[in-house]
């Protein structure tokens, strides 16, 4: 449904998006994950036809967003980062305006308006001025305008930002419910959102795709690298040196804790369990081992790892 190929975009001399490629199947919910400034919004703005790419192509529902822009745009619903609302309009007037603007035939506007009001649970404020709405309601009106013309593709840029936990949950349920009939791309910098709503994740960092997989596979892939937490009473530097030489250990980081204790994070290759050898090493040196346990990597950490790797290397 969406094909992004070798997409690049530069502003003046700064490269915001570098050679990004991915595709989204019909009915799929794709999470677009990355820290602020990674190029999420830029990529979405190109997909929606708001700005042209410097190079590369994007097709939506078979239409090139640049050369067949009007046809492509008809099939896209878009919630930008700042919800595009007219404060002086009522919710109903605003949604009718958007429906007409998106080219929805007049005969279908009434039916789609009721559907959107219902789906986003904003029926009770339909006659209210947009300026009088709370942040949560405004966000929901924003989602309603993105789906009112029954688009094939819905693009949501940070749809849950600024909402309270209850509203966030409701919004995620709404998005989940829209999958299947619509193809959805949503960007976020909040990880649990992705594992809760998306079938697939594209992680973007510094304008490049850092990883692409299902949330489960991503976790699995990185869990392959074992992590062990160890606490011992020992001199820090010597402890680290001793642990580093244990076969299978790739990385050791340590910090001092109160009472002469040291807490270590040990990463292994995942091919073998290093815990017994670690224990033997500590005890063999005459230090006292206080704690030793395996720790799995949460998606949050995977994200941090994937997106900070480049800076560490530099």
């Amino acid at each position: 449904m969406i094909e992004v190929q070798n997409l690049s975009k530069s502003y003046a001399d700064k490269l915001a998006v570098r050679d990004v490629s991915f595709s989204v199947e019909k009915g799929e919910i794709l999470g677009f994950l990355g820290p602020n400034g990674a190029g999420k919004t830029t990529t979405m703005r190109i997909i929606t036809g708001f700005m042209p790419a410097t190079s590369g192509t994007v097709t939506v529902a078979g239409y090139d967003v640049f050369s067949q822009s009007l046809e492509a745009r008809k099939r896209i619903g878009y919630l930008p980062e700042t919800v595009p609302l007219y404060p002086e309009m009522t919710v109903e007037a605003y949604l009718k305006f958007v429906a007409r603007l998106k080219g929805l035939p007049s005969s279908r506007i009434g039916e789609r308006l009721e559907y959107a009001l219902d789906a986003c649970q904003i029926k009770d404020v339909r006659g209210k001025l947009v300026s009088k709405l709370s942040k949560g309601y405004k966000q929901r009106v924003g989602i309603a305008q993105a789906l009112i013309h029954d688009p094939d593709v819905i693009i949501l840029d940070e749809p849950t930002v600024g909402l309270d936990p209850k509203q966030i949950n409701e919004t995620r349920q709404l998005i989940k419910g829209l999958g299947g009939q619509h193809t959805i791309v949503l960007s976020t910098h909040i990880l649990p959102e992705v594992s809760m709503t998306c079938g697939r994740v594209v992680i973007i960092s510094n304008g490049q795709v850092a990883a692409e997989d299902t949330p489960e596979n991503l976790t699995k892939r990185l869990q392959g690298r074992d992590r062990v937490q160890l606490e011992a009473k020992a001199p820090r530097r010597e402890l680290v040196d001793a642990l580093k030489v244990v076969p299978g250990v790739t990385h050791v980081s340590a910090e001092d804790v109160d009472g002469g204790r040291v807490r270590c994070e040990i990463e292994g290759t995942g091919k073998r369990d290093v815990r017994s050898e670690l224990a033997a090493t500590v005890v063999g040196k005459g230090w006292s081992l206080l704690e030793l346990r395996a720790a799995s990597m949460s998606l949050e950490e995977i994200f941090l790892k994937l997106t900070t790797r480049e800076e560490e290397a530099a």
């Binding site: 929606t48 708001f50 009007l70 919800v83 595009p84 309009m89």
Partner: protein, 291 residues
């Protein structure tokens, strides 16, 4: 979704290059495809075609603009100020001249408009850019020219309502005197055109900034210069420079309307100014994408 026949029916010049491969299919094939489409989809293919019709888009934009203008208190202030100023000047002129004529009133009206039109146009495109609604507009199946034309027509609609409220003046003259109706009609045509020029220029300037106040000040400045260009021309002395300035200035072209005999070149002058300003606004919105 890949409905080639539906596409072929739509009048869409901008997509001509992209559809070059379609042009290669023979006419017979296209006719056949169209017939099938008409049979299978019937009314729906007709409504699709209607939906992408430019007039609908322009109407949608203009309609929303009117809705917003009349929902804002500034609009009523502008109308009130316009009517109070005009009413005052109209009665002063009437009492002093004792003539059932509106020529002088129209000239004054133009000066008042020079300051009021920018207050109508200042938010037209600048506010869309500031609030982010431009992102909604530019990702909708809407051409930049349709957006600009819709905005201008919305502002014109508001302006015409404002102008219609001055119709009691000629009716008053008609009741108590015998005004030259040709002059009055000419005056109205002139003031509509001048207003159209002011609104088009104001719209263009509004597309250049996110700040309403800058749009307001810059528009008034530009309109003042264009209106008073005549005076600048006189400093060139006589000859080519002076007559050029005379031609380019807004004010001299207005006289022929209020005198009741409309000259073609004055009509062309105002209409072409409107077209140029709207064209510049379209280009300005287009380049916004590339920034």
């Amino acid at each position: 979704m890949k409905d080639a026949p539906g596409l072929a029916v739509e009048p869409d010049p901008t997509q001509a290059p992209a559809e070059a491969d379609e042009a290669e299919t023979t006419a017979a094939e296209r006719r056949r495809a169209r017939r099938t489409a008409a049979r299978t989809r019937g009314a729906s293919s007709r409504t699709r075609t209607l939906a992408s019709y430019p007039l609908r888009n322009i109407g949608t934009i203009a309609g929303r603009e009117l809705y917003s203008l009349f929902a804002s208190p500034i609009a009523y202030l502008v109308i009130a100020f316009f009517l109070v100023m005009n009413g005052y000047l109209f009665s002063i002129i009437l009492f002093n001249s004792q003539q059932a004529s509106m020529s002088t009133s129209f000239a004054d009206m133009a000066i008042i408009l020079l300051f009021l039109a920018p207050s109508i146009t200042m938010r037209l495109l600048s506010e869309e850019q500031r609030s982010g609604t431009i992102e909604l507009l530019l990702t909708s199946p809407l051409r930049e020219s349709e957006l600009v034309l819709g905005k201008w027509l919305g502002a014109m609609g508001f302006y015409l309502v404002m102008l219609a409220l001055t119709l009691p003046y000629p009716l008053f003259l008609l009741k108590y005197g015998s005004p030259d109706l040709g002059q009055v009609a000419g005056g109205y045509v002139g003031i509509i055109l001048v207003g159209g020029v002011f609104l088009a220029i104001g719209l263009f300037i509004s597309s250049l900034t996110q700040n309403q106040i800058i749009a307001l000040a810059a528009s008034i400045g530009v309109l003042l210069v264009l209106w008073l260009f005549q005076g600048a021309g006189q400093s060139f002395g006589s000859g080519g420079g002076a007559s050029l300035a005379q031609y380019l200035a807004l004010a001299p072209h207005f006289d022929s309307f209020t005198s009741g005999n409309i000259r073609l070149n004055d009509l062309v002058y105002y209409l072409s100014l409107i077209v140029i300003a709207l064209f510049l606004a379209v280009r300005s919105v287009e380049t916004r994408r590339w920034r």
